[in-house]
Amino acid sequence: MASSTTSNVYIHVIEDVINKVRDEFINNGGPGEGVLNELQGLWELKMMQAGAILGPIDRSATQKSGAGGPITPNPVHDLNVPYEGTEEYETPTADLLFPPTPLQTPMQTPLPGSAQTPLPGMAQTPLPGTAPTPLPGTDSSSLYNIPTGGTPITPNEYTSTNENGVPEVKAGPGRPSPYMQPPSPWINQRPPLDVNVAYVEGREEGERGAPHQPTTQDFFMSSGKRKRDDLPPQYRAGGYIPQQDGAGDNLSEEDNRPEDLKMVQEGNQQMFVQVGTMSSRIPQLDGPIPDPYDDVLSTPNIYNYQGVVNEDYNIVNTPMPNEMQAATPAPVQNDTGDDDDDEPLNEDDDDDLDDVDQGEDLNTTHLVLAQFDKVTRTKSRWKCTLKDGIMHINNKDILFNKKSVTIVWLMGISQATGEFDF
């Protein structure tokens, strides 16, 4: 809670700010006095709820309490609100009045070591969207992006605005859905065992004009398999070749269609090898070196729904179409993770080890904002002279002036060995 002196200073600051911006609000087509009063009222309201201002403010008791809403002018003692010191940048008002947003990361963006300069030049806070504003300015500038989602009231949207790009990712989960649908029609159209034909038809349908289908299939089969597009028409012309088990195929059928198979194979489609017996008869041209994805996809059967991928034509890959259908979501999801087959790259491991991050995450904590006059160090002993600062410690605000603060730190360096003691 604030002391009376601190509270008075804050009130003074608020009044000073309001008075100085009044001209801009009223003149030159500004929003007007009403908006200004509302601003002041809300500001003071939040300050009271945060405990930074004590008691009713005399001049504003009538106006501001009205503008501020239902909160009585004794909010300092609103102990019902557990003002959690840990959530330094989240005024209890937000938590009280509004449901916490999912993006409730308390102002982490400005904190992480942002030694970004509040240099004089940066006072020209760039208008919405531009990121590189220093320190607190970071959030203030992003605020005026008019956050797309969520209630505007929620102050936690600071971070949400920073994550405006993130929602795009959310489209990801939706992606499987289009992929799900197209396979079903063409699969249903054919007897389940006939993978290739179904695929062919699917191709044709895709060619005819379902735009999403080709992409769907590409997605499933990876780039290497797009080459199938060349085959389907030819393939079709020759009827279809049963794929399930190569050994059990009718020889008569084989006899009838050797040429077709040849054509097919010349198309470099490994998939069309399918029937093992056929392969023994027909000279085969090896396809192009399969894409890495082909190999990857070939290992689990779910990717082999077309019987392709394996260069070893004698191997029978006969996943049921039902399986394929069920499997469709899997490739959709797994493909994104294909980059690391076995394990994640563990790129996040260092995050926990980073002392800096740890130190700054702890910062939910206590904060001192000031200007420094001098910073010196003698061996392991640092000495800083600060002035004109605000300390926020244990939920209390303490202001200090020049010549009033001298800080002496001891750094944990052993003088003898020079080891760091963290």
Binding site: V13, A52, Q116, P120, L143, P152, W382, D388, W409, M411
Partner: protein, 106 residues
């Protein structure tokens, strides 16, 4: 005039920022005007602190992290003791952000 946006991270600064955000989101206030308010806040806050008289405060602790970048010192102290007239506070961790005072006078 150059200002330090440093104080926007304080309680009072955050309250103001939230209020402005609320009003801009509600379309009551234009972003440009909100920025001007914040700049004015920077100035007023700096002036107020200059005129504010406080007792001496000293801080001691274990320096966990120090950083000097873009003329801004950032320290993280652990097990810090802050002594002031009002009493002594002990905190596990405190972050100190300090801007160069000479920049304002230049």
């Amino acid at each position: 005039m150059a200002t330090f946006e440093l104080y926007r991270r304080s309680t009072i600064g955050m309250c103001l920022t939230e209020t402005l955000d609320q009003m801009v989101s509600g379309g009551i206030l234009s972003p440009e005007l909100a920025i001007q308010v914040l700049i004015q806040f920077d100035k007023s806050m700096t002036e107020a602190l200059e005129s504010e008289v406080k007792s001496k405060v000293s801080v001691k602790g274990h320096l966990h992290t120090y950083r000097f970048c873009d003329n801004v010192w950032t320290f993280i102290l652990q097990n810090a003791q802050l002594k002031s007239e009002e009493g002594q506070e002990t905190v596990d961790s405190v972050k100190i952000v300090a801007c160069d005072s000479k920049l304002l006078t230049q």
